[in-house]
């Protein structure tokens, strides 16, 4: 019996590059990844640049096929689910810079209803209610009539999170939602995500470079190392294990597992 939420089982990630006039090339990024992210929990995916976090998240939400192994969402193998059905279970906030033209925040959030709409894109009262709820859940209701193009980065991320929520998923995947945000916006957004996970019983998986923030707010962490191994544990256990230090300590920077923060060693301590 697989638990509610996400389970990676022996997953191999990477991508197949189509090349004109030549054979396709397959690049393996990481293999044998096994982890869980439960419903009702905020899971933070951390790891150094280039470890394959984005590739893992794209595989997790079905945007690219795994090279091996399986991803289960609520016990169902993603490979067996039709893309149209997948969209009603998983929604994403990507790092793609988007430029949708003239759309208000409400219209953009309403795009999240796409998988629930008929081909004519006719919106039902139920869809409207879902949009209102999603706007409210991230505190974006006052922004509803603003043009998306005029928003600050923080407001944009909140809008994109609302769009993902309007899709009514059981798994919410966010690729570095906190980058480009100032400190208060970062904390606010991550706080919203944690609250949504608990209140809506969602599995929320987000990648982030904000290690200290991740330690403070996440219920579970996935560490994707430079050596391409994935460790899944609670923040406290992960801190204790010393793997964080091994992955991120550099120069004078040291991770203090007890306080879960990075310290800068004094200059004279260096040998």
């Amino acid at each position: 019996m697989t638990p509610a939420g996400v389970e990676l089982r022996d997953l191999t990630i990477g991508y197949t590059r189509r090349r004109a006039f030549r054979a396709n090339t397959v690049t393996k990024i990481a293999a044998n990844l096994t982890a869980v992210a439960r419903r009702g929990e905020l899971t933070a995916l951390v790891g150094p640049n280039g470890a394959g976090k984005s590739t893992l998240l794209r595989t997790l939400c079905g945007l690219q096929p795994p090279l091996g192994g399986q991803v289960f969402v609520d016990g169902e193998d993603l490979a067996t689910v039709r893309p149209a059905d997948l969209a009603t279970r998983i929604s994403v906030v990507l790092t793609d810079r988007i430029d949708p033209g003239l759309l208000t925040v409400r219209e953009l959030v309403a795009l999240g209803r796409t998988p629930h709409l008929p081909a004519s894109a006719r919106v039902s009262p139920e869809d409207r209610a879902a949009v209102d709820w999603a706007l409210d859940a991230v505190g974006a209701t006052p922004l509803a009539s603003r043009q998306f193009g005029e928003l600050s980065d923080g407001q944009r991320q909140r809008t994109l999170a609302a769009r993902a929520l309007a899709q009514d998923p059981s798994l919410l995947v966010l690729d570095e939602p906190t980058s480009f945000l100032d400190v208060p916006s970062r904390v606010e957004l991550v706080d919203v995500l944690g609250r949504l996970a608990r209140e809506q019983n969602l599995a929320v998986v987000m990648s982030t470079h904000e290690l200290e923030l991740a330690f403070r707010v996440s219920d579970r962490m996935w560490l994707l190392d430079a050596d391409r191994t994935l460790t899944c544990d609670t923040p406290a256990a992960l801190a204790e294990s010393g793997r964080i230090g091994a992955a991120f300590d550099r120069g004078r920077m040291r991770f203090d597992p007890r306080r879960m923060v990075f310290d800068l060693e004094a200059e004279n301590n260096r040998v």
Binding site: A87, V92, L94, D99, L111, T114, P115, A119, P142, S145
Partner: protein, 367 residues
């Protein structure tokens, strides 16, 4: 911790909250409907001879003119021209909108992406084959008459667009893809001119005149083919509204919302090929309308929502095509300007304005 989120927003936001969007859309639709009606009446009235307005209204409302000459002018010349302009404007506007959203590029349209050149190639093949009395298949195609020309034009347009879609598998950059479209268009045009060398001189002369673009060459029997094909293209376009809206966020988001990109591309290409192919077959390759109509519609409606834009560009395209048609006829004179000269003179400033308006200087920003 949630207290942070309850911070009252500035009063400005609250005022903006009473969205004027729905009202604006209605007003613009009514204005466009009036514009189409007025342009229709003008298009019937104005020409080398001016039909009295009262006669025009009488005939348009189902009656007969006081003089049978007016009756003939209106029924056999002006009305087919008017219906052609409406159909072509709507078709090119919709095809342009589809191309701009599909290729995520503000400068895409069937003309620039080579669809019109492809259609020209199809027509040229028929013209050359008809003239030279070449082998069975092509001669048979020419033997189909107007329908054959339409089929050849639509196939030509579809061939170029499909080639671009195939290349899009490897080319991720929208700008590169657009340039490839421009190159394909040039190459196709070159093939057309090579073909014309082998055509009978009188026919290649006809072809060159056709290439200048015109709404006046169509008869009622042509319209019995053009109008249904355009309506068919629009019907296919309506099927893609939901997907085109999702594509506003880019392919990644569209796929994450369950949109099958390959199906959308194929459906859109079929629709655009029908629209651009049919109009090119009857009126020649017409530039600028497909490019500017979607931009003008976005500015007028203030939204990129295809549920509003699709009917919007059809009306606006119809009105604009009528106006261009009227101008090209130089009312009151016997002079007729090439239609493409008029659309370019109207269109070029609009394109420049669009490029300047897009604040970030990015091509996609005007979308």
């Amino acid at each position: 911790m949630t207290a942070v989120l309850k911070t009252p927003e500035p009063a400005v936001d609250r005022r903006l909250d009473a969205s004027p969007r729905a009202g604006r859309v209605t007003v613009v639709f009514v204005a466009l409907a009036v514009a189409v009606a007025v342009a229709t009446v003008l298009s019937v009235t104005l020409g080398s001879v001016t039909v009295p307005l009262a006669e025009t209204v009488r005939v348009l409302s189902g009656g007969s003119a006081t003089d049978t000459r007016w009756d003939m002018v209106i029924r056999d010349l002006r009305l087919p021209r008017t219906v052609t302009a409406l159909a072509v404007g709507a078709a090119l506007g919709i095809a342009g909108l589809q191309m701009q959203t599909l290729f995520r590029n503000a400068l895409a349209d069937p003309f620039i992406l080579g669809a019109s050149s492809g259609a020209s190639l199809g027509v040229a093949v028929v013209v050359v084959a008809g003239g030279g009395g070449a082998g069975g298949f092509t001669a048979g195609l020419a033997g189909l008459g107007r329908a054959g020309v339409v089929i050849a034009a639509a196939l030509g347009a579809a061939a170029v667009l499909l080639l671009i879609v195939v290349l899009a598998r490897w080319v991720k950059s929208a700008v590169t893809l657009l340039l490839i479209g421009v190159m394909l268009g040039s190459a196709t045009t070159a093939v057309v001119s090579v073909l014309l060398v082998y055509a009978d001189p009188q026919r290649s002369q006809q072809f060159l005149v056709w290439g200048l673009g015109s709404f006046t060459a169509t008869t009622w029997s042509d319209l019995r083919l053009l109008v249904p094909v355009v309506l068919g293209g629009i019907a296919v376009a309506l099927l893609t509204v939901r997907a085109l809206n999702a594509l506003l966020l880019g392919e990644g988001y569209a796929r994450s919302m369950g949109i099958d990109i390959r199906i959308v591309r194929l459906t859109t290409v079929i629709s655009a090929a029908l629209l651009a192919g049919a109009t090119t077959a009857f009126c020649g390759p017409i530039g600028f309308l497909g490019l500017i109509v979607p931009h003008l519609a976005r500015m007028a409606f203030g939204t990129s929502d295809h549920r509003v834009l699709l009917p919007g560009v059809a009306l606006l395209g119809g009105a604009l095509a009528l106006i261009c048609g009227i101008v090209s006829q130089m009312p009151g004179t016997d002079t007729v300007f090439p239609l493409n000269a008029v659309t370019a003179i109207v269109g070029a400033p609009v394109v420049i304005a669009v490029l300047i308006r897009s604040r970030r200087g990015a091509l996609g920003a005007a979308l």
